[in-house]
C-alpha cells in the first residue's frame, strides 16, 4: 500500500491563548506539487515549521513518507529539504563554504558534496560570487543559495516557504523548471507563497488555510468547480483564476467598498 508523502491529523499549535493552527488535517501524495495558501497571519509558516521540525505541535500528528515525524526523527530529516522563512544561512561563510557545510551536515561524502556544490552554484548562477560572504548577497541571491542548500542532499520531500520572494524573473523561471524536474522524477513539493500565479502554474493540488483552519483542500480543478458553483450567475469554472478562488474562499469580497475609505489619500 502506498503511503502519503505528508500526512497530518488534527495538527494544532497554540501560543498561549492564541491558536495559530487549529486542527489541520491534510494529505499530500508522493510526486504531488502541493500549494499551501492563506492570507498573512493565517498559519502557513507555523504549519510548515511544524512539518519540518522547527516547531513542536501542541496537538496532532505528522507523518512524512509514512513514518511519524518529530524533531528527533533524524532518518526522516535526511529525506526532506527545507527553505525556511529565515533561509537558515550563515552570513559569515561564502556560498561554496556554506553548501559544502550543509552537504556534510546531511552526511554526504566529500566528493559528492564538492561535485554537487559546483553544479548547484553554476545552476543558480552564483558561480561568480564564490568569494563573497553570504551576508553581502542580495536577498534574491540568498534565496537561490537557500534553495540550493535545500536540495543538495537530493531530498524526496521538499518544503518551500516563499521561495520566489525577491528572486528575479529569469531566476524564477529557472527555479520553476528545476522544481518541475524534481516532480517529474518523483519528489514531492510543499510550497507556500503569495504569488498565486506560480501556484496556478505549478501546483496540482492546493490547500487554503484561514485563521488557523483549513478552509479548502483538493485538486485545483475541484476547487474551481466548487467555487464556481457558489457564485451567482452561470460562471464558467475554467475562467476562474486562483486569485478569484482564493478571495472567494477567504471572504475578501468587499474590496470595491474599501476603495471609498481613506479618501484623504491622493
Amino acid at each position: 500500500m502506498e503511503f502519503a508523502a505528508i500526512q497530518t491529523h488534527g495538527l494544532t499549535r497554540r501560543f498561549g491563548e492564541f491558536t495559530a493552527v487549529d486542527g489541520v488535517t491534510f494529505s499530500v501524495a508522493p510526486g504531488q506539487f502541493f500549494g499551501f495558501l492563506g492570507p498573512n497571519g493565517a498559519g502557513k509558516s507555523t504549519t510548515i515549521k511544524m512539518l519540518t521540525g522547527l516547531l513542536e505541535p501542541s496537538a496532532g500528528t505528522i507523518e512524512i513518507l509514512g513514518k511519524p515525524f518529530s524533531a528527533s526523527a533524524l532518518d526522516l530529516k535526511r529525506q526532506i529539504g527545507v527553505v525556511p522563512e529565515g533561509m537558515a544561512l550563515f552570513g559569515r561563510l561564502t556560498a561554496p563554504e556554506y553548501l559544502r557545510f550543509v552537504g556534510r551536515m546531511y552526511g554526504l561524502d566529500r566528493e559528492t558534496t564538492n561535485q554537487r556544490t559546483q553544479e548547484l552554484l553554476e545552476f543558480m548562477q552564483l558561480a561568480n560570487e564564490t568569494r563573497k560572504l553570504v551576508t553581502d548577497f542580495s536577498h534574491g541571491m540568498q534565496k537561490k543559495l537557500a534553495l540550493a542548500a535545500a536540495v543538495i542532499h537530493g531530498p524526496r520531500v521538499l518544503f518551500l516557504d516563499e521561495p520566489f520572494e525577491g528572486v528575479d524573473a529569469i531566476a524564477a523561471g529557472m527555479l520553476k523548471a528545476m522544481l518541475q524536474g524534481m516532480i517529474n522524477r518523483g519528489a514531492t513539493i510543499f510550497l507556500t507563497t503569495h504569488v498565486l500565479e506560480i501556484v496556478e502554474r505549478l501546483c496540482s493540488h492546493v490547500a487554503i488555510i484561514h485563521q488557523g483552519r483549513l478552509v479548502a483542500n483538493g485538486p485545483l480543478e475541484e476547487l474551481r468547480a466548487g467555487v464556481a458553483s457558489t457564485l451567482p450567475g452561470a460562471q464558467s469554472a475554467q475562467r476562474l483564476t486562483l486569485e478569484e478562488i482564493f478571495l472567494s474562499i477567504v471572504g475578501a469580497g468587499d474590496q470595491q467598498d474599501l476603495s471609498q475609505e481613506l479618501s484623504w489619500l491622493a
Binding site: 522547527l54 516547531l55 528527533s72 530529516k77 550563515f90 551536515m105 542548500a149
Partner: protein, 591 residues
C-alpha cells in the same frame, strides 16, 4: 473625507500647528522639534520594551542588577574623578590635571565597547524615510547618543570634576564648567564619529579583515610594550621602582609625549584649567579655542560619515572594492575555482563534527567581536603580573601569581563558551532541520573552543613567564590541573547558557551589541566560583606545604566536571528542543 474609528480626517481639519509641521523647516522648526520629541519618546519606549524579554523574569532581574551595578560604577567613577580633582586643586598640582582628563576621555571612548550589550540599539538610518533635514538628522544622531552609558558615565565624571574643583577653588566654577562643557562636547562627538566609521569599515569584508589584522597587531604590541617599559622592573624594591619611574618620566620620549599630549583634547582641557587657575585668562581662552577646533573636527568627521548615510548609503550595501579589469579578464572557470578552493577543506573527515569545526574556524576568523573578546584579556595577564611584581618588593612573586595570571586570560572566553550559538543568526534553523543531533553540534563547538582555549592559555603562560620569571614545575602542573578543571566547568555551564539564554552577536560590529544580562552575570559568577575553588585548594595545600597535592585534587575535580559536561552534552537535544522557539526567535532577530 473619511471616518476611521469615528475620527474625521481631512486636510482642511488641520489646525495651525499641524499646518506648520506639514510645511517643514530648519533645525528648530516645529517639524524638527516634533521629530526630536518623537525620538525622545522612541528612546524611552525602546528602553522600556527592552525590559521585556522572552527569557522571562530572571533576565529582567539580571538587567535590574546590571543597571544597579552600572549605576554604582558611574557614580563611583564620578566620585573618584571628583576626589582627584579636589586633591589636585587643593594642592595646586595643576600640572597633573591632564591625567584626569585623559582617564575620563579613555573611559568615554571605551565604555561603548565594554558595556555595549547593556544598551538597546536602534538604527537611526531608518529615520531617513521621514522628512528629516541633514542638520536635524545630525542633531538627532548626536542627541540620541546623549542617553548612552558612555555619555552618562562621562557626564558623571565631568560633574565630579566640576564639584571637586569648585569645592577647592570656588572662583574657578565658571572656567571649569566651560572647559568641561567643551571637553564633553568633544567626547560625545568623537565617540560617535569613531564608531560610525568603524561600523562603516566593518561593513566591507576587505576592510573588515584589514581592521581585524590591525587590531590583532595592536593587541600584540600592547603585550610587548609593557615588558619593554618595565624591562628593569623585575623584583625591584619600592624605592628602586620609584627611581625607575622618575628616570622614565625624565626620559626624552616621555617629555616629547607630554608636549604632544598638551595639544590633544584632554591635555588642552587640563592645560586650560591650569592656566585659568594661574589667572591667565588669555592663554586659557587660547587653549579652549584649540579644544573648540577639535570639537569642530570631530563633528566634521562624524558629519562626513552621516552625510553619506543621509544620502542613502546603506552599511549592508557599502560599495565594495572594485575588481580591476585585468582581474576580471583573467576570470578562472568556476570548476577550476572551486577545485582550487577544495584545499580549503581543512579536515579530512566528511562528518558533521569536522564540518562544524571548519565552519566555526571560518566564522571565528571573520567575527571581530569574538576575536576581540578572546584576545583582549591577554592584556590582563600583563596588568596582573605587573601588580604582582610591584606587590612583591623583595623575593619571588607569590606561588599563586602564575596560575592567577593565566586564569585571567580565559575570561575572554565567556562569550564563546556561554553563547556559542550567538553568531549563527538564521543559520540556527539548519541545526534543527538537518539530521545532525544538537549534541554533535555542541560537541564540535566545544572541541574547537577547547583548542582555542589551550592556545590562548599557552600564550598567556608564556607572557606570565616572561613577566614573572620561570615558575616551578609543581606550580605549572598545578596550574594545568586547575585549568583542566576550569575548562569542562565552562563548557558544561556554557552549553546550558547557550541553549537557554542565547543572544545574537552581530559579527560585523564591535560596538552596539545586544546581550543577555542573565547569561553575563551567571557566567561571571561561574568564573568567581572556579576562581574560589582554585584559591581554596591552592591556599589549603600551600598552608600544609604540600603544593604537589593540588594536582591530584584538581584532577579529581576535573573528572567530576567532565562527567557533568558529558551529561549536559548528552541532554543537549532535549534542552535545545525545549528552547527551540526561543533560540530561533532570538538568534534570527534582526539588528
Amino acid at each position: 473625507m473619511a471616518r476611521i474609528n469615528g475620527a474625521r480626517i481631512d486636510n482642511a481639519g488641520m489646525d495651525g500647528a499641524q499646518q506648520a509641521l506639514a510645511t517643514g523647516g530648519g533645525l528648530l522648526s516645529p517639524l524638527a522639534r516634533a521629530q526630536y520629541a518623537a525620538l525622545a519618546r522612541l528612546r524611552w519606549r525602546v528602553f522600556v520594551n527592552g525590559l521585556r524579554s522572552k527569557l522571562g523574569a530572571f533576565e529582567l532581574g539580571a538587567r535590574v542588577v546590571a543597571y544597579v551595578m552600572y549605576g554604582i560604577l558611574g557614580l563611583g567613577l564620578g566620585a573618584g574623578a571628583g576626589a582627584i580633582a579636589y586633591s589636585l586643586a587643593d594642592s595646586q598640582n595643576w600640572q597633573y590635571s591632564p591625567i584626569v582628563f585623559w582617564v575620563v576621555c579613555l573611559i568615554w571612548q571605551v565604555v561603548p565597547i565594554m558595556l555595549a550589550s547593556f544598551q538597546e540599539q536602534f538604527d537611526l538610518s531608518s529615520l531617513l524615510r521621514f522628512p528629516v533635514g541633514f542638520r536635524s538628522f545630525f542633531l538627532l544622531y548626536v542627541v540620541f547618543g546623549l542617553s548612552d552609558l558612555s555619555t552618562i558615565i562621562g557626564g558623571l565624571c565631568c560633574f565630579g570634576i566640576l564639584v571637586g574643583v569648585t569645592a577647592a577653588r570656588p572662583d574657578l566654577f565658571v572656567w571649569t564648567a566651560l572647559i568641561l562643557a567643551i571637553f564633553a562636547a568633544f567626547n560625545i562627538l568623537m565617540v560617535r564619529a569613531v564608531f560610525a566609521w568603524i561600523d562603516r569599515w566593518l561593513s566591507q569584508r576587505k576592510t573588515r579583515e584589514i581592521l581585524g589584522a590591525i587590531f590583532m597587531v595592536l593587541i600584540l604590541s600592547m603585550q610587548l610594550m609593557n615588558p619593554a617599559v618595565w624591562q628593569h622592573g623585575h623584583r625591584a624594591s619600592g624605592k628602586r621602582q620609584q627611581q625607575q619611574i622618575q628616570q622614565m618620566l625624565a626620559s626624552p620620549w616621555v617629555k616629547t609625549a607630554n608636549e604632544v599630549q598638551e595639544w590633544l583634547p584632554p591635555g588642552l582641557a587640563g592645560v586650560a584649567l591650569r592656566q585659568a587657575a594661574s589667572q591667565q585668562p588669555a592663554p586659557a581662552l587660547g587653549s579652549l579655542g584649540v579644544l573648540g577646533l577639535f570639537v569642530v573636527a570631530a563633528g566634521s568627521v562624524l558629519g562626513l560619515r552621516l552625510r553619506a548615510e543621509y544620502h542613502g548609503e546603506n552599511l549592508g550595501a557599502a560599495p565594495a572594492l572594485k575588481k580591476s579589469a585585468k582581474n576580471s579578464a583573467k576570470a578562472v572557470p568556476v570548476r577550476e575555482k572551486t577545485a582550487e578552493r577544495e584545499g580549503d577543506w581543512r579536515f579530512g573527515g566528511s562528518g558533521p563534527i569536522a564540518a562544524i569545526i571548519e565552519k566555526e574556524i571560518r566564522s571565528l576568523l571573520r567575527t571581530l567581536p569574538l576575536l576581540y573578546a578572546v584576545g583582549a584579556p591577554l592584556v590582563l595577564v600583563l596588568v596582573i603580573s605587573g601588580s604582582f611584581i610591584r606587590g612583591a618588593s623583595r623575593g619571588p612573586a607569590p606561588l599563586v601569581a602564575f596560575p592567577l595570571c593565566v586564569f585571567f586570560a580565559q575570561i575572554g572566553f565567556r562569550m564563546l563558551f556561554s553563547n556559542n550559538l550567538g553568531t549563527e543568526g538564521a543559520g540556527i534553523q539548519l541545526y534543527f532541520l538537518s539530521p545532525t543531533p544538537m549534541r554533535t553540534v555542541m560537541l564540535a563547538k566545544n572541541l574547537l573552543h577547547s583548542a582555542v582555549f589551550v592556545v590562548v592559555l599557552v600564550i598567556a603562560g608564556l607572557l606570565a613567564t616572561l613577566r614573572l620569571g620561570e615558575p616551578g614545575a609543581v606550580v605549572v602542573a598545578a596550574t594545568i590541573a586547575w585549568l583542566l578543571f576550569v575548562l569542562p566547568c565552562n563548557l558544561a555551564v556554557g552549553n546550558i547558557f547557550s541553549l537557554t539564554m542565547p543572544y545574537r552577536i552581530n559579527p560585523g560590529r564591535i560596538s552596539r551589541q545586544r546581550g543577555s544580562q542573565a547569561s553575563t552575570l551567571l557566567s561571571l559568577l561561574l568564573q568567581v566560583g572556579v576562581l574560589a575553588v582554585g584559591a581554596l585548594v591552592f591556599e589549603l595545600c600551600s598552608i600544609g606545604g604540600m603544593m604537589w597535592l593540588t594536582v591530584p585534587i584538581f584532577l579529581a575535580l576535573t573528572v567530576v566536571a567532565v562527567f557533568v559536561w558529558l551529561r549536559i552534552l548528552g541532554n543537549s537535544d532535549d534542552i535545545a528542543s525545549q528552547h527551540k522557539d526561543l533560540l530561533i526567535a532570538t538568534l534570527m532577530k534582526a539588528d
